[in-house]
């Protein structure tokens, strides 16, 4: 794998860009791998990357039924933050945020990480108390966040209307080191690094069955033939239930579409991420100038990747109240991603009833921000067969034991 650098750009400019190589190979699947990761989204590729980097396991295949990064990795609003209430969540999201800071240097791939700050608005007294509590919890967790009053909110985001008609802004939870990154680059960067380590990324390869013998996984059946493996990692978000079904267990997960939309590009007007959970909307501005807007999740199960129209109305109404300057903007695109939700709105990183088969799912509406931390923890789980400190609390057994990591209040809607 040739390194990207200023020198490489100069060299290629001189020879008419004939020397760039493909970022990753597209090999035929081998008969056997030590580890197979199903799902070449951010989480799956990150799992493979840290298996290679931290544990020296490079006989790895990453399978995907479509193309890599074509699911929720390419459909989210690219927000990165770690201001969670519960200790296990704060630990894994903060790990992810810190890995995002060094992603570009570590992987030699420009992730365009922009620590522009994330502001979560408090618009009810309940939220004021909730976020003040989160700020205190974050201080104990060594996650840098700060409770700010309405005047400071107005300073951070001059275009905001703090005297909104329904929900005036009463303050906010400010995480200065949160921000955004280029979502596709995360998948592409990991894919390139995995391929560079000799791993096989096999796209257009749908898994149709899981083979096992004596309660241990032995391989998978795919549309491109049988592939044997010693260990299997299922990292497929919205489709986890079907893979779990093939492997012979059930999951406490339901799927629903979460929507996002993008406006026409305008001049820079907002230089941080603002989330308003009470009114169901959040917004940031992309480098191209588009306002990237996240909306609500449908209240019922669905796989439509489009979502319900009344949520758009709800989201846009809320944002116009909060940011009156955007009221004349046209929206360019709208789409939905299928989010896999657990009852306590926390992810699952777990061993499964099938031996040597591991699952990483349930990231719900907030998976993108977690990608590096999730991959790091999942690699540890797959390599050692037992969860490390980051994944320990996220096991499937927490539902039976009633050890919920309840983020449904802390995280609200926007993620």
């Amino acid at each position: 794998m040739r390194r990207y650098s200023a020198f490489a750009i100069a060299r290629e400019a001189l020879r008419h860009h004939t020397g760039w190589e493909r970022a990753w190979r597209s090999p035929e699947p081998k008969k056997h791998y030590k580890v197979i990761v199903i799902g070449a989204g951010g989480h799956g590729l990150a799992t493979a990357y840290y298996l290679g980097k931290n544990f020296g396991i490079r006989d790895v295949a990453v399978l995907d039924k479509g193309w890599l990064g074509g699911g929720n990795t390419g459909r989210n609003t690219t927000i990165i933050r770690s201001n969670y209430l519960q200790d296990p969540s704060a630990a894994i999201y903060e790990k992810a945020r810190s890995l995002y800071e060094t992603f570009s240097q570590d992987l030699n791939y420009n992730a365009m990480f922009s620590p522009r700050g994330v502001l979560m608005l408090a618009q009810t007294h309940h939220e004021v108390r909730g976020y003040q509590r989160t700020a205190h919890a974050n201080a104990l967790q060594e996650v840098e966040t700060e409770w700010v009053g309405p005047e400071r909110v107005k300073e951070i985001v001059p275009i905001i209307n703090i005297d909104g008609p329904r929900y005036p802004v009463l303050g906010g939870l400010w995480q200065a080191r949160g921000g955004t990154a280029r979502h596709d680059a995360i998948a592409w960067g990991y894919a390139r690094a995995c391929s560079g380590m000799g791993m096989d990324i096999i796209q257009q390869c749908a898994v149709t069955g899981v083979r096992s013998e004596g309660g241990q996984v032995t391989g998978v059946v795919t549309t491109r033939g049988d592939i044997a493996c010693d260990k299997l990692a299922i990292v497929v978000a919205g489709h986890s239930g079907h893979l779990a079904d093939m492997a012979g267990f059930r999951l406490p997960i339901e799927s629903a579409p979460l929507q996002a939309l993008v406006s026409e590009p305008i001049k820079p007007c907002i230089d941080c991420v603002v989330m308003a959970n009470t009114v169901h909307g959040y917004m940031s501005q992309s480098d191209k100038g588009e306002l990237v807007i996240g909306g609500g999740t449908d209240s019922y199960n669905g796989f439509t990747q489009r979502g319900s129209f009344n949520h758009i109305e709800e989201t846009v109404r809320a944002l116009i109240e909060t940011f009156p300057i955007i009221s004349r903007l046209k929206m360019l695109r709208q789409w939905g991603g299928i989010v896999d939700m657990t009852g306590d709105r926390s992810p699952i990183l777990s061993k499964t009833p099938l031996g040597n088969c591991f699952i990483n799912c349930g990231w719900g509406t907030g998976g993108f921000k977690a990608i590096p931390g999730s991959g790091w923890a999942m690699a540890e789980l797959v390599a050692n067969g037992e969860p490390g400190p980051l994944a320990a609390d996220f096991g499937l057994d927490r539902f039976r034991e009633g050890r919920f990591i309840d983020e449904s209040v802390a995280a609200g809607v926007a993620h």
Binding site: S299, Y300, N310
Partner: protein, 107 residues
């Protein structure tokens, strides 16, 4: 937008009038049930891509609970029926089978 017909008051209501109540026809567990059965009842869900039976409440209307059969991919509604039904009514099952010949039935 999703539109369902309330089997009690007969109104075609859009989803802003309704509240979703999750998967229907769950077998309730009680004292004497095993931990496994309780866990499955409380948390495990079918979450199918396709035919799904679910509970709804006509919240901003007559207030009654009812059940619906719906496709989670195409959003097609196969019918709604009373909440007191232990199984989906035969005519709804027939309608599903006519439109989805490869449907494997309820898990």
């Amino acid at each position: 937008m999703l539109i369902l017909t309330c089997p009690y008051c007969g109104i075609h209501c859009d989803e802003t009038e309704l509240a979703n109540g999750g998967e229907a026809h769950l077998k309730r567990e009680g004292p004497g049930s095993s931990d496994d059965a309780f866990e499955a009842y409380l948390f495990d869900r079918d979450n199918p891509m396709g035919v799904h039976f679910e509970r709804w409440r006509h919240a901003n209307g007559c207030g009654k609970w009812f059940l619906a059969a719906r496709d989670t991919v195409t959003m097609e509604v196969f019918g709604t029926y009373k909440a007191q039904s232990i199984e989906p009514p035969a005519e709804i099952v027939e309608r599903i089978r006519a439109k989805r010949p490869d449907w494997e039935g309820r898990a």
